[in-house]
């Protein structure tokens, strides 16, 4: 893989370097005024044409359905419909042990599967009071940020393709491949990793992973600069994205839109900082914030986040502590595999965990983590024993899809695809 990376076409060129005469930040009132301007288009009146966009449509990113009422090309009303991919994950969770739930969470947001594993494990650990060892926290942080990178790169390709450039999609896929290769090396799977475990992770870092990972994160910022060179200063992209789909911070709170969309509205809200988990409170990174609350700024936020992710991974690799990669907690965690093969106590623990499951105390917890698409909350109510009594995944896409009418009414059909892509909805995440 290394030779492929080295022969890449990326040039180490810093594109943006924030200009000193940055435009003044708009206030909330100004943003509302800008948004009201798109709504004015609604006052033309006229005949309404109803179109069902989806469930099978090239740019609904799955089986999302939007029933549009159009006046010409302007969207007058929009009714989002979800559920075409409903698999009853929450019901299944009530009949599985905590360990068995982890593979189910993979299938929520399959573009950032590890982040979903991680969110569930954080909640379960909070319920069971498991202390995660330092090395496991660092490995989790690395994997979490890798999944954020993979998700954002895929997002970028798809977003740009929705605006009409197919070539860029392939470029993004090419770079996502390096990340998936890393995941394959780390977890054995490219998409659905099931890598997190209660109290740690499934495996230690494999040999050679660190060098390979370092190569990728040295190389990715150059690629990100290349993306920006292609997209950020592209005049058509600017015209298509600037002041389109404005969603102010107040709108975001009201519709529970989180993640990059909220940060593009000028709110420095990031659960990695605000309610830190894994190793995020031991690492320096910045929260990406932009202030114009439009599609263009959501793009900028994600670009900055990708750079920050590389930074986080580098720090994690630098400061990777030694020690066990899963908690030595016989009641709740699986043992390390190498101990199972040597140590009879560990083997008994393994049997116990696999056949009976972790014994959780009675109680209810809610834990939210910052997954690439926004905030994912996991609610677990336990009545004791190995199976939860109720699990609820508060997934970001669920709410992002719901907010589509507030985002897109008054805009045009062509903007709708840009806006829908910009809030990043994945249907596995939304339909549960």
């Amino acid at each position: 893989m290394s030779d492929v990376i080295d022969s890449g076409t990326a040039q180490a060129r810093d594109v943006d370097a924030t200009p000193s005469d940055a435009p003044p930040r708009p206030t909330l009132e100004q943003l509302k005024e800008r948004k009201a301007r798109t709504r004015q288009r609604l006052e033309t009146g006229g005949d309404i044409m109803t179109i069902s966009m989806g469930p099978q449509h090239p740019s609904t990113h799955g089986v999302f359905q939007m029933v549009l009422d159009l006046d010409g090309e302007v969207i007058v009303d929009l009714r989002p419909e979800i559920g075409n991919l409903h698999r009853g994950v929450e019901k299944l969770c009530e009949h599985r042990t905590y360990h068995q739930i982890i593979p189910l969470t993979d299938r929520l947001d399959y573009n950032s599967a590890f982040a979903m594993n991680h969110g569930f494990c954080e909640a379960a650990e909070k319920l069971m009071g498991v202390e995660v060892p330092a090395r496991a926290r660092y490995i989790r942080t690395i994997a979490h940020e890798l999944s954020r990178l993979a998700n954002h790169i895929l997002w970028l390709g798809v977003h740009i393709m929705d605006l009409g450039t197919q070539t860029f999609f392939v470029i993004c896929f090419r770079d996502r491949e390096y990340l998936l290769d890393l995941f394959e090396m780390l977890t054995g799977a490219r998409l659905t990793h099931s890598f997190a475990r209660i109290g740690g992770v499934a495996k230690d870092l494999p040999d050679g992973f660190e060098q390979r990972c370092r190569k990728v994160i040295e190389f990715l910022p150059k690629r990100i600069a290349e993306y920006e060179r292609i997209v950020k200063h592209n005049r058509i992209y600017y015209k298509r994205a600037k002041d389109v789909g404005i969603f102010t911070s107040e709108d975001c709170y009201a519709w529970r839109v989180t993640g990059p969309t909220l940060r593009a509205a000028g709110v420095a809200r990031d659960l990695r900082k605000d309610e830190p988990y894994a190793a995020y409170d031991e690492i320096d990174f910045e929260v990406a914030v932009e202030y114009n609350a439009d599609v263009y700024d959501r793009f900028l936020v994600r670009m900055t986040e990708m750079r920050e992710s590389c930074k986080i991974i580098r720090q994690c690799l630098d400061g990777l502590p030694d020690g066990p990669y899963v908690a030595r907690d016989a009641a709740h965690s699986l043992p390390m595999k190498r101990d199972v093969l040597r140590d009879s106590a560990a083997m008994i623990q393994d049997f116990y965990q696999v056949f009976r499951g972790p014994q959780a105390p009675k109680g209810e917890v809610y834990r939210a983590v910052e997954v690439p698409k926004g905030e994912m909350g996991v609610y677990i109510r336990s009545e004791g024993g190995a199976k939860p009594a109720r699990v609820r995944f508060t997934t970001p896409s669920f709410y992002h899809g719901q907010a589509m009418p507030a985002l897109a009414v008054g805009e045009m059909v062509s903007d709708l695809v840009a806006i829908f892509a910009s809030v990043d909805v994945v249907l596995g995440d939304s339909d549960k």
């Binding site: 206030t27 909330l28 979800i82 559920g83 409903h86 009853g88 929450e90 019901k91 299944l92 009530e94 009949h95 909070k126 319920l127 202390e131 911070s249 107040e250 709170y253 009201a254 519709w255 529970r256 509205a265 000028g266 709110v267 420095a268 809200r269 900082k273 605000d274 830190p276 409170d281 031991e282 690492i283 320096d284 910045e286 929260v287 990406a288 914030v289 109680g363 209810e364 917890v365 809610y366 939210a368 905030e375 909350g377 609610y379 109510r381 009594a389 109720r390 609820r392 508060t394 669920f398 709410y399 899809g401 719901q402 907010a403 507030a406 339909d431 549960k432």
Partner: protein, 196 residues
Amino acid sequence: MSAARFVQPPRPAGSSTKRDRTAVRAATSLAPTLATAAAKLRRRFGARLLEEEESFGELTFVIAPGDWMRVLAFCKSAPDLGFDQLDCLMGDHLPERADTPFAVLAHLTSHTHAHRLRVKTFLPEGGSLPTVTGLWPSAGFDERETWEMFGVVFQGHPDLRRLLTAEDFEGFPLRKDFPLEGIVGGRVRTELRGKI
């Protein structure tokens, strides 16, 4: 109230983000702002807050269904509480509670004060609650899901239809007595399309 948060600049780089791990991990005591908020709620509603539970660093208030709208509206509008975001509204089924087996939980988040609160109410079979879509529009899908999964009706909801299951699905799948396997309803009855 959100404007204060809005103009807040991003945290400067390098400002010490390293916290005392033990303090974060232990997290048994409530955040000071949340303590103030809880005190204010108690002062405002007194005995109407039926139960109060504090566990895992989270605060839960149990209220009567009749107080649902009142308490949540207060939580949103009172400056010290400032719960401007409804993180999640969900249902639960506890068959061991014979009279009021259904629970509806609202997880509230405040961007102003960065604290969370859980408000819970118990309902009998066939019970109903007022909708909170007027307070937080994001409750729309949540309430639809709670209705289809548990059969809890939300009065005044603008569009209370099935959300995740097919429109001709029968039964409430997340109730404990709903079987995990087998076919219950859900057969395609095209004459019902668009009517349910």
